[in-house]
Amino acid sequence: MHVLDALGNPVRRAILSELRAGPLSVGEIAAGLPVSRPAVSRHLRVLEDAGLVQAREEGTRNVYSVRMHGFASVREFVDEFWDTALARIEELARR
């Protein structure tokens, strides 16, 4: 899932907001949100797949933190966008 799609969900944005203050366990994250712990785990998986958070084992629990380099800048976003778009435009023009 793309970064911006992963962010297109209010619960996931709330999780990232909590993690901006520092690493937290699933239980700590769930305590601050009106959703169940399994739901938080599911959202964390989406965020992890998108490269936005990383998990670290600490004893018996997983601690999550924000993975800063998972965030694309606007410039990086548009750079990739136009590379894909122009390749497609070239293909259409040659038909």
């Binding site: 966008f81 894909t84 122009l86 497609r88 259409l92």
Partner: protein, 139 residues
């Protein structure tokens, strides 16, 4: 500022029409904000620049600032940021031997300058603002 270009084996008018009328065909499928990868994308001389999902749901992608067919089109672009803080896309179509040289210049505007190259601040400092468009699209 980001500059990219491509030479197409078309006249400037045909290249301009491909860019504006066939946006649904070249716009990356994984960058559709209506949530429908087969949505239609419209860029109109009237100024409207939007996406319409097959469900009929519409999302504004920006605004056409200048429509100088067949030489140039200037767009306010909401996609990477938000309607409150657009970036700007200028596309020029110049005849050259063998076709048309299409140049895309994508740059921040004063309101989006701070979002342009910063990675974390794009979401950390302007969290709600930058994501408003995406949240609406995902709703």
């Amino acid at each position: 500022m980001m500059v990219k270009s491509v030479t197409l084996p078309l006249t400037p008018i045909a290249a301009f029409e491909l860019f504006t009328q066939k946006a649904s065909e070249w716009w990356p499928k994984d960058r559709r904000h209506s949530g429908d990868s087969d949505s239609e994308i419209f860029m109109l001389p009237s100024g409207r620049f939007y996406e319409r999902a097959r469900s009929g749901h519409e999302v504004e992608l920006g605004h056409v600032q200048a429509w100088d067919q067949p030489n140039r089109i200037l767009l306010d672009f909401f996609v990477a940021t938000s309607p409150e803080r657009p970036t700007e896309v200028e596309v020029t179509f110049a005849a050259q031997e063998g076709g048309t040289h299409v140049t895309v210049i994508h740059r921040p505007k004063p309101s989006s300058a701070d979002l342009w190259s910063a990675r974390a601040p794009l979401y950390a400092q302007s969290w709600d603002l930058a994501l408003a468009a995406m949240a609406r699209a995902a709703a």
